[in-house]
């Protein structure tokens, strides 16, 4: 099954999915079209695997009405090994989400447009990952954009917030498209071709190269959701149906990282040497800011969206560290950093999918997204609890999960970069390590909060108290559970099989020898070894005697009484007294006060007859995204003002319009006749 075969199957299955979505009646539509989308995902995986294992000679040419050769080369799809990795990521996430969607999609998400857009969305991402030239890359990019915008608009009738989120998303995505188009146009003009291989061979430098680099970086950073340009992410992902936001968070955002990796390593390597600190700063800032916002929000899907910004930030940090070390020509360690970037990408894809699918099940069961109103779901939703728990461990980078292996590799690269050689490294590496450690710590807190308040203790609202059952009679709910289990298995699997996965990535990136695998474990050549199997064995080895000890003691003291929890002596422990997500994050809001700028309002209303006695005290605190308040809100209002001013130009007087024409005539006469 060559890459070309995979891509062609993907095309045909997408067409089939669209046809099924339109033709099949509503009841079976999710199963039929979802199955076809699942097929597209699997085709993506096969394409990726084929691209990784063998360098494809054959290409898929997309017929386009514009004649080739006069400035635009023929559109061809020939995934590079690196593209293949992202095809696998997209395919895998797409397949799992489609499987989940078959049981989950309801209402507008399961409409004709919902399912056809989902299949086209997967195809668009595959196109981007396997594009061989500028126009097909942009074609994939925009197909992905339009399909995801349509999917985002699924619940537009239900909630007004969906529309504003869709507008923000569409505008930011178009900003990314236009900056990419500009960057690529400049690049193609210097390389005199739009095919990536020729562009890479042209080694473009000079001012056009720098302008192209910055435009392309802006485009990819916007899609990746790096900090100054992340504003659309926490708005769009919560509003989309859960299986769609899973694909958006786990796969679509990664294509921004793919762009940054390809941009810095193959398209403009010389120019990007100057900007390695910029890329590093973008990554570190996104990591820290993303997880800080995630740790204090109480909306589950918004928390997961911000954690996507954090994980993408970590991946871009890894790329930045790789570039920095390569500049200081510490080759092997730089290779490790880039391998870490790919590991971070793949691991985040795995656990973020499961987290969003879990959030989807919670939303469907209780209709609640706000963690402050959830709780006690461990009793009614065992499968979701286990899968969400494993994925949360992955997100918090605890041992034997994919997150741990990825972050371990990046930390090794950071620690083993020799800073004695030049001062920039001596300062940049420790600062990066410090901020990254803080990010990991806050990530821990965020996911303990998310898992703890959502699943443990007693339900904090009626909706959470009587959730819909996890598995109904219909087979589709089994599909949902199966998707979550597969995702969780992937998180653990990637954690355990980190050796073979890392060696594939190092071969994909073209490094040899720096990363080798030993019976599943990972040996970084000059650094050290991580063997998750051995770690797990040691852990089990110690757990067994403890378990035996417990069994022995249990026989002697069997009874376990259930009693009321401690309530300072009284029986006053109602679920409302439990700690909620907001209160859990209260210490952080205080500690990081100046970074978050919480808005607090305190109204004290006194009694009429006596100004001392207070009648009522109302306290409200709200933490908003300061990047949005400081930059985007003024920009939006500025645009509105400019719009109103500009419309005054067309004030209806025919004399003004004739004046325009007259001025143009006079100007032309002066220009041509003088």
């Amino acid at each position: 099954m060559t890459a070309v075969g995979g891509l062609l199957t993907a095309f045909t299955l997408t067409a089939l999915a669209v046809v099924l979505a339109i033709v099949v009646p509503a009841r079976q539509r999710s199963l039929a079209s979802g199955g076809a989308s699942l097929g597209v995902g699997v085709a993506g995986i096969l394409t990726g695997v084929a691209a990784i294992t063998s360098s494809p000679t054959a290409v898929v040419v997309i017929p386009v009405a514009l004649p080739a050769g006069i400035g635009i080369d023929p559109l061809l799809l020939s995934p590079t090994p690196l593209g293949g990795v992202f095809c696998v990521v997209v395919g895998g996430v797409g397949a799992v989400a489609a499987l989940y969607g078959m049981g989950y999609a309801h209402g507008p998400a399961a409409s004709r447009t919902g399912w056809s857009a989902f299949a086209v969305f997967l195809l668009g991402m595959l196109l981007v990952a396997s594009a061989g030239d500028v126009v097909s890359f942009l074609l994939g990019w925009e197909t992905m954009a339009i399909a995801s915008t349509v999917l985002l608009l699924a619940d537009h009738a239900a909630r007004p917030a969906v529309r504003s989120a869709a507008v923000w998303y569409a505008v930011m995505t178009h900003l990314s498209f236009l900056s990419l188009a500009t960057g690529f146009a400049l690049l193609a003009s210097r390389a005199h071709s739009t095919t990536f291989t020729t562009i890479a061979a042209a080694h473009v430098t000079g001012p056009t190269g720098i302008a192209a680099f910055l435009a392309l970086l802006l485009g990819f950073a916007t899609k990746a959701g790096l900090v100054p340009l992340h504003v659309w992410l926490p708005r769009a992902h919560p509003e989309a149906p859960s299986h769609v936001s899973a694909v958006m968070s786990a796969a679509m955002v990664k294509l921004g990282v793919y762009g940054i990796i390809v941009l810095t390593s193959t398209w403009l390597p010389e120019v990007s040497r100057w900007f390695s600190l910029l890329v590093l700063a973008l990554g570190v800032l996104s990591g820290a800011y993303g997880i800080l916002q995630a740790s204090i929000t109480s909306d589950l899907k918004r928390l997961l969206a911000y954690s996507t910004t954090e994980n993408v930030g970590l991946a871009v940090t890894a790329v930045g560290v790789g570039m920095l070390l390569a500049n200081a020509d510490q080759g092997p360690v730089a290779d490790v950093a880039l391998v870490a970037a790919l590991l971070l990408v793949v691991s985040h894809a795995a656990f973020k999918t499961v987290l969003f699918l879990g959030a989807g099940t919670i939303l469907q069961a209780t209709g609640e997204r706000d963690l402050d109103r959830l709780g006690g779901l461990i009793r009614t939703h065992p499968v979701t609890t286990w899968t969400f728990g494993i994925a949360a461990m992955g997100a918090a980078a605890l041992p034997v999960t994919s997150g741990f292996a990825a972050e371990w590799t990046l930390l090794q690269a950071l620690v083993h970069g020799d800073g004695r050689a030049n001062t920039t490294l001596a300062l940049a590496l420790p600062v990066t390590l410090g901020l990254m450690a803080l990010t990991i710590g806050l990530g821990l807190l965020t996911f303990v909060k998310a898992f703890g308040t959502a699943f443990l203790a007693r339900p904090r609202s009626e909706a959470a108290a009587s959730p819909a059952p996890e598995f109904t009679a219909r087979p589709s709910s089994a599909a949902r559970g199966l998707a979550q289990v597969i995702g969780a298995a992937a998180v653990i699997g990637l954690g355990l099989a980190v050796g073979p996965v890392a060696t594939t990535f190092s071969s994909v990136l073209g490094y040899s020898g720096t990363v080798t695998s030993e019976l599943g474990g990972l040996r970084l050549v000059t650094i050290g070894v991580l063997d998750p199997y051995a770690l797990a064995l040691v852990g089990l080895g110690l757990a067994l005697p403890v378990a035996l000890l417990v069994l022995v003691i249990r026989r002697r003291v069997p009874r376990r009484q259930t009693d009321v929890a401690w309530g300072c002596g009284g029986v006053r422990t109602s679920p409302r007294m439990e700690y909620t997500a907001t209160s859990y994050a209260e210490p952080l809001v205080r500690v990081f006060g100046e970074a978050l700028r919480p808005t607090r309002s305190l109204e004290v209303s006194h009694l009429e007859e006596d100004h001392v006695l207070e009648n009522r005290v109302a306290f409200a605190q709200e933490v908003t995204d300061i990047v949005e308040d400081r930059w985007y809100a003024p920009a939006a209002s500025w645009l509105r003002v400019v719009g109103d001013q500009a419309r005054r130009v067309q004030n209806g007087s025919i004399h003004r319009y004739l004046g325009f024409s007259f001025a143009a005539l006079v100007l032309v006469l002066v220009v041509t006749l003088s």
């Binding site: 009405a65 537009h156 146009a185 400019v642 067309q650 024409s661």
Partner: protein, 478 residues
Amino acid sequence: MAAMLWLPVLVPTVLGALVAWRHSDAYARYVPLVAALAILGIGIALVAKGQVVTSSVLRADAAASYVLLCVGAVAVVALWGGLSNPPLGGRGDALICAFLAAMSLAVLSDNLGVMWVAVEATTIATAFLVGHAGTRGATEAAWKYVVLGSVGVAIAFLGIVLVYASSRTGGSPTLSWVALVSGTVPLSPHLARVGVALAVLGFATKAGLAPMHSWLPDAHSQAPAPVSGLMSGVLLSVAMYAILRIQAVAAAHIGVGLVHGLLLTFGLLSLAVAAFLTLTQKDYKRLLAYSSIEHMGVIALGVGSGTTLGLVAALLHMLGHGVVKAAMFVLAGRVLAITGSSRIAQVKGLLARRPDLGWPFVAGTAALLGFPPFVTFFTEVAVLIALAESGLWWAVGGAAALLLITFIGIARQVLSMTAGAPEPQPDAPDHPLVHDTPSLRATAPAAIAMTAGAVVSFLSLVFVPVLGAAAAALGVSR
């Protein structure tokens, strides 16, 4: 075969006369559509034939037959869609037929003078169509349309006169495009320069390029839906086609630096006008009109970039944009019919209330915003690459920024109309001319137009040779 050339001009005129005479009977409404189908048929035949066909004044080379095809296609979409709008009456249908005849003559004429007369005739034919509604707004729009349009085209006439005068130095002055382009007729450089510049300036007014664009929003928003669809879709492109003819003459004699300079400035100005005036636009028909200005700006930039790629992209953009814009105006007409007001604020939850109108409207907007699979995506990317190719990096940056602002404006307005829950909206005004109920027959034209807009971008077998020949015919140097 040569006689066939006269059909696109004669058939509409004869049918127009017939309708004007017996406008009472029932199927008078279908006559303009028949004329449009005739033009489309002949356009396809000419394009398929691939050779240059001439007969006395008319000449159809590759470019002319392609543009005729565009005229036919857009006319069919607009008029077939227009059937579901309130009827225009005998006089209106006759005028539309005259309009189609004038456009065909303008496209096919080899003589620049005759081309000018035909373009002026389009203004005359559409004057009363714009003012058809008879309301205060329609009269005002018609007045401005005629005055500004005629003044602009008069300047173009001055340009053509000077070009004719410049050809006198070679003994036998001529206005025949073939002679002028073949280089056998030497042109005195000064006169030719002024003539070409003024002609481009004049036709730019008819093409709706800024700063001579002010008539377009009023005319296209007040005219009945099929008429504004026709004007926005293809009349602007015919004017741009005239500019391409003039540019070919300039390329043969005095070089295209001046023409491209003008087109680039007009193009960027049009993008700027469209960008800033759609940001907080209150009326959705005017929004579509400004989007036409934006797309003509993109076409001007494509031609102004001076590369073959730019020209090919511009030609393809004419077809892609024309077909979609005509369908959009037809839809806007029907939305106006059911909501009674053309204010954006009055239209809420179109997707939920009338999905048969909402989804084509959203699809059309996606096409206008340059999303794949519509052809506007490929052409806009090609124009950006063409501009970068000829080193105009500032134009690339400027165009990208302005396209973004236009996107913000249009996306926000259209989503405010289509998305969201449908409040209990008082249904159509108490006396709807045509009670608009969702019917396949009414939705078919827009749906077919959108699919055509998408399919065209992938028909490489058909369009690559046609566009290549058209670009060669227009004789772009690089």
